[in-house]
């Protein structure tokens, strides 16, 4: 019962000589092909000799071919009906193609800052509508200050890293172009170099899930600062608790910008009994301030932040572990627990 019901039969195009009174060959509203008599019935994508997967049924008024998968708008199908006697009858059908006018855009890119560490690990590209997979590395480019493409800056995975909605792509820098010890960096140099300017370019030719191109290309210009080899340190965070009896936000000032996506799930607010509070997280545009808006009013007393130690900064250093371990130098800090706790008190107004 799709939107194309009325168009199905109207789109019937007769091939060779079907104007004569022969057995009918139609496509019904349910997307099934029908021949008005016994014999055989096959359906093909136009130009192919491979028949469609589907089921052929005999009914009282003839044959019915039920395609295994719903017909695709815009694709031309050729049905061939061969009656027990007489010449085969061929007819072509096409569901109207969906509108092709683009409307999808890159809506946000994280990190949103324009000064980023030399060892930046990833970008998150957010789109306003679900995208088609399979073209991420062809459609995204890193340009240097002269507008020249940096060669292979990103980790090209067979399975692109989309979220389930198909609206967010994780674009990882090739670790070999970031890490000091790994070889591609020695040969090709790092993808990003301190003090230089770059542009992340997303081509408008990238199709969305409906096959339409993006409305426009996207550019994010940024400058590159020194590499960040320091782990995030929650003990240096400043917690600004709200007053009891209010629903004001809990504000946490972070010690450095952290991963925008993980900030939405890696920090829990616990009450005095250690139960997580329900609420909404807000991350400021620079990813250095984190706010928690509770669903209910704050109760006075002890609370705590429970922070997942996998929470990373922009260079992939997590609370538990730096991104890259220099095995010659002793580690400043490794944390083996899954979470760390930061207590705070909510006071009476």
């Amino acid at each position: 019962m799709g939107p194309h019901r009325g168009a199905l039969v109207a789109a019937l195009v007769c091939a060779l000589g079907c104007a004569s009174a022969g057995p009918s060959l139609t496509l019904d509203e349910g997307g099934r092909f029908r021949a008005g008599g016994p014999g055989s019935l096959s359906v093909f994508v136009a130009g192919s000799e491979t028949p469609l997967f589907g089921e052929l049924r005999g009914e009282s008024d003839g044959l019915v071919f039920v395609p295994r998968f719903p017909l695709r708008p815009g694709v031309e199908y050729r049905a061939v009906y061969t009656p027990p006697a007489g010449a085969p009858v061929t007819a072509s059908f096409r569901l109207p193609a969906p509108g092709s006018s683009p409307s999808t855009v890159v809506s946000r890119v994280f990190p949103s800052r324009d000064l980023l560490p030399e060892n930046l690990l990833k970008f998150y590209l957010h789109f306003s509508a679900p995208m088609a997979r399979g073209e991420a590395y062809r459609r995204t480019h890193l340009l240097d200050a002269e507008g020249k493409k940096v060669e292979l800056p990103f980790l090209e995975l067979g399975e692109e890293l989309w979220d389930r909605s198909g609206t967010r792509l994780t674009l990882l820098f090739d670790p070999g172009r970031i890490k000091r010890g790994l070889k591609p960096r020695e040969d090709s140099g790092p993808a990003l170099e301190e003090g230089k300017s770059y542009t992340l370019l997303v081509e408008s030719a990238w199709p969305d899930a409906e096959g339409r191109t993006l409305l426009r290309e996207f550019r994010k210009a940024f400058r590159v600062a020194a590499p960040d080899d320091r782990q995030p340190d929650p003990s240096a965070w400043v917690i600004r608790p709200p007053r009891a009896g209010t629903t004001g936000p809990l504000l946490v000032e972070l010690d450095e910008p952290l991963d925008e996506a993980m900030l939405h799930r890696a920090i829990a607010v616990l009450d005095g009994e250690g139960r997580p509070l329900a609420g909404r997280v807000e991350v400021d545009p620079d990813q250095v301030r984190w706010r928690f808006h509770p669903e209910r009013t704050w109760k006075p007393g002890r609370h705590a932040l429970s922070i997942d130690t996998t929470l990373e900064d922009l260079a992939g250093n997590s609370i538990g572990r730096p991104f890259e371990v220099d095995v010659v130098r002793p580690l400043e800090r490794t944390i083996t627990t899954r979470t760390v706790s930061l207590p705070f008190a909510v006071l009476q107004p």
Binding site: V45, S48, T50, P51, L52, F53, P67, R68, F69, V75, P130, A132, R133, G134, L157, G158, E159, E160, L161, W162, D163, R164, S165, G166, R168, T170, D174, P175, G176, K179, R180, G181, L182, K183, E186, D187, S188, P207, D208, A209, E210, G211, D259, A261, M262, H264, R265, A266, A268, L270, G279, R280, V281, S306, D308, T310, E312, S318, E324, V327
Partner: protein, 361 residues
């Protein structure tokens, strides 16, 4: 020589007990949300990685007749033919992986019909006659292992966009090894799930570290891997995007373990490994590795079990030696068909994708 037993031992270890594979299965409809990497367990059991559903399925194909030694798979323009059978165009479809069923010699492909998040997952079988058919997923024997998607420690817990890609999987000695990568935190994530699957035991994640030049260590994601047996020890060989070939022992894949792998080969720069198999030829064992920039590499395993690892800074290549098979271009997928042949998916420049049988080089 221990090494000469490698490939033969792989064959024995992997397919010695066909009866085992269907243990713990139930009849029903596997609820695949997506399809990704494929592999075979004994007895024609197809292992399917479902990244969107965060699960691995084991499906009894009942495709256990036929002699792989007599099969030759050659289907030109297979992408066009599969797309036509699915009633769509090649540009509106993705082919994720290829695996050959060692119980029959038939090839299986994992396909998305459509390219957006609402794409329909399809499994397709191609036989020696070139016939393309859909792998039935109604009322079949199957079991499923759910991969834990680490729950949010907190935050608002809503609209979590975290998901995990499955980069490769394999059946070995009663375990299914799954390599994955999160779309948020960065860590190599390898899981050894006991088979038959039990709900409670999905195998704890193991982090694999490997050194580079003796100075730094990393936990980059595993791109593709294969297993081989030296004596009684099964080794996993993992290919990474950088520092390509790393060896570690299967026995080390214990829940919560931190495993340090040994870098046994640097295969050159700007080289993304795609797929890898082990085979035997002339009493010696070789690895065949497809990659993005160098055609197919035939890598010697001479001394691989005693290779102490590359710890020095190197200019280009080091460790296990290899030759590039120049005639094999545009190969994206690879699996072993029988003693002397492999099956590949290869795209000639600008042309369609072909399914081909090639003699093992």
């Amino acid at each position: 020589m221990i090494r000469t037993t490698i490939a033969f031992a792989v064959a024995l270890a992997a397919f010695a007990s066909p009866a085992l594979a269907q243990d713990g299965m139930k009849k029903g409809d596997p609820d695949l949300k997506s399809v990704g990497p494929l592999a075979f367990a004994p007895g024609g059991v197809l292992l399917v990685g479902d990244p969107a559903g965060a699960a691995v399925f084991a499906i009894a194909t009942e495709d256990v007749s036929g002699d792989p030694e007599k099969v030759k798979l050659d289907v030109p323009a297979i992408d066009e033919k599969i797309a036509a059978a699915l009633g769509t165009s090649p540009s509106d479809m993705l082919i994720h992986d290829l695996a050959v069923n060692p119980a029959s010699g038939n090839a299986y492909l994992s396909i998305s019909r459509g390219r957006g998040p609402a794409a329909t997952p399809v499994l397709v079988r191609v036989d020696g006659a070139g016939k393309i058919s859909e792998v039935p997923l109604k009322n079949v024997s199957f079991c499923k292992a759910s991969l834990p998607n680490p729950p949010a420690a907190g935050g608002d817990g809503k609209n979590s966009a975290r998901s995990e890609a499955i980069t490769d999987l394999a059946w070995v000695e009663g375990r299914v090894i799954v390599a994955g990568l999160s779309n948020e935190e960065f860590a190599s994530n390898l899981r050894a799930i006991p088979y038959p699957f039990r709900d409670a035991d999905t195998g704890a994640a193991v982090e694999i570290f490997h050194g580079a030049h003796g100075k730094f260590e990393t936990r980059s994601p595993v791109r593709t891997f294969t297993v081989y047996t030296v004596g009684k020890q099964t080794q996993v060989l993992a290919a990474y995007t950088c520092t390509p070939l790393v060896r570690f022992s299967l026995d080390e894949l214990k829940p919560g373990a931190k495993v340090r792998g040994t870098t046994v080969a640097e295969l050159g720069n700007r080289n993304r490994p795609l797929d890898m198999i082990v085979y035997q030829q002339g009493g010696k064992d070789f690895l065949l590795l497809t990659n993005s920039s160098r055609g197919v590499m035939k890598i010697s395993t001479d001394g691989i079990d005693s290779n102490k690892g590359i710890t020095e800074r190197i200019s280009d290549k080091a460790g296990q030696t290899y030759e590039t098979i120049a005639s094999l271009e545009g190969v994206t997928e690879l699996d072993r068909l029988n003693k002397g042949n492999a099956v590949i998916l290869a795209r000639a420049k600008g042309g369609p994708l072909n399914l081909q049988t090639i003699p093992l080089p």
